[in-house]
Symmetry: C2
Subunit: 367 residues, 2 copies
Amino acid sequence: MSLNRPVRPPKLCLVCDDFARGMNFDVLTCMSCKAFFRRHAAQAGKELRCLLNSDCIITQQTRGACSACRLKKCLALGMNPALIRSSPKKLKNTTQSQLCDASIEEKQIVSLPQPTTLSLLAKDKSTLTFDEWNLLSNVIHAYDEKNVITAAQKLLREQASLPVKIRAKKMMVFELIGTFFSAVKPFLYYLPHFHSLSFDVRRVLIENNLNGMGALNAMFGAYELKLFGNDSHVRTCYEIYGEEYVKESERLANRSEQNGTLVKMFLTTLAFSTNCSVVEESQITTSTNTSVTSSIALTRIQDVFIIMLWKYLVYQYGYLGAVRHLDHLVKFYLDILNRLNELNSKEHKDMINVIIDQTIHSLTLDD
Amino acid sequence: MSLNRPVRPPKLCLVCDDFARGMNFDVLTCMSCKAFFRRHAAQAGKELRCLLNSDCIITQQTRGACSACRLKKCLALGMNPALIRSSPKKLKNTTQSQLCDASIEEKQIVSLPQPTTLSLLAKDKSTLTFDEWNLLSNVIHAYDEKNVITAAQKLLREQASLPVKIRAKKMMVFELIGTFFSAVKPFLYYLPHFHSLSFDVRRVLIENNLNGMGALNAMFGAYELKLFGNDSHVRTCYEIYGEEYVKESERLANRSEQNGTLVKMFLTTLAFSTNCSVVEESQITTSTNTSVTSSIALTRIQDVFIIMLWKYLVYQYGYLGAVRHLDHLVKFYLDILNRLNELNSKEHKDMINVIIDQTIHSLTLDD
DNA sequence: AGGGAACACTATGTACAT
DNA sequence: CATGTACATAGTGTTCCC
Ligand SMILES: [Zn+2]
Ligand SMILES: [Zn+2]
Ligand SMILES: [Zn+2]
Ligand SMILES: [Zn+2]
């Protein structure tokens, strides 16, 4: 699964995103995850149990909070307990089936019924493969490259520091909101497979999908930054979009998906989507001449990302939870599109069109 | 806030429900919460930060997972940092404003701007009072007295162990489902204030509300026990209620509120409710002769519990989260009532009526 | 009774040897 | 390079003392 774009030297821990140095137990991890895995995957003695819903998101910050989910992720990523030398936990699936068999009978006269990890390791069709985890990681980093949330936060602080007149405030709000739409450009730039598409296809995708993607991004960002809790900001939005519209949008933002990884993967599927974001009729008609839907390359990319999304959902939330989350996310996105249809601010629309033009220009030139 | 019923000697930790031994820093807690509070509420040096959404539910099992939320709960319960002797954290709100002032300047030449805990301690109107926390605790224990979930789990295991013929299976399913409705009786029995009502009022409340309460209880239990994941059970339910009805109920159960404390408090408000669960017209008309709604005692009890519920929601999820949770919970309950209206099994209805009669008989006799 | 001190225990992360 | 070992550090819960 080679990428067309040079993605930064992949030296981040696949488990927690901390800096990694080398492969450990078959997976690129940081030192702490390495130690963690050795300690916990070794003996089946203590069954780790999640105190929440077994769907904790593991990051450098949160990895300490739930050992059960951390271990689950380690195993899901393919870390191999058989490579732990001291422990007798054997695993005869891949190349190195021959290990020191003598040490096995030494200390383990205790009970040893450990089906859990084995079943987790079983690489059936519903488990994310190594390549898929890598792809997922690249998607996340494509999004984080721009670091929209931090940038928006910075803008917000600037906005708060200098109390200016209404006209300037409006401009700053536009700048803030525009950030979320502009962020689609670097995201697409670093997104695996995007550059393998033809100029025409890229252009059509940007034309059709950028508005929806930016809006979803903005809603997620507004939720993360609690934008609607910022009175000054909200009042200025009233001026631009009308009070009712803003309040309805706030209700929408409160329903935002909270799992950032999921949002980023969903944005990816939107990026390659051929039948969404029909916000303005004029937009969609401008480009139906090119036969985008018939592009086989595009169809295969869609498949890859949608399968990855679904596997991630199942891994993270279980089958039922996956259904629920996806249902919620799709409905959330559809409501966002509805919201866009009711938007009246000409200034906003003009801004979006400029951003779309810029993005097309930038992403269909060099290769 | 005295209770009419003898509730077990209150020796459970208000923070985590572990066994408590005595008051610590003004609140009834266990030894570990005592130690925890001393260690973390002392110096404002390290700000504890929740790795999730600052709404972790603290129990004996989960208390170790999130220190931030544990401390938050300690403070919300009224534990007093001023009573920590070694630390210079002064607090001049209540009686003992005079403390050893000499020790203050000793070790703390470091910075000391700690507004967070102080603001949390401020006993404004939106914070649960000591009495309310106690009341909440009593409600929880009134529910847990019967331990429905465990009982149902046991029944389920029995059901699975002996493969019997369809008729017997049906009986067992009825027994299982009936458990959730029968559990309302001990709940009401131990529920604070219920016994202060007149016989007539109690009877009408049971007649009107037991069905809805039991159904909510069953949905919550089904969610907790993953009943709809049990194929054998589900198939028998098909026989009784029809496949479509069961599948719709499963979707409903998946939307269940997950916070048990919240469910129990909501059940309490339902218990005293005068205008809900109008499932069958015949039911409500049988008792409109007694002027239930005009009972002042009942109205005041309703107020007490609804205020407590709301304060708990705000404490646990913040204002916005409180709104969302209550909204979700109310809709969930309304949909359950709709579900009951579409129920067709005469056997089920007969069973419920028997349970209602039994409950009335049992709870309007002795006092 | 309700404070604190001290200890034992566990989990984590890092430095370094193999 | 990837493993294990050893140590430093932190958090928790219990026992005991005042
Ligand atoms: Zn890591
Ligand atoms: Zn977890
Ligand atoms: Zn406790
Ligand atoms: Zn928390």
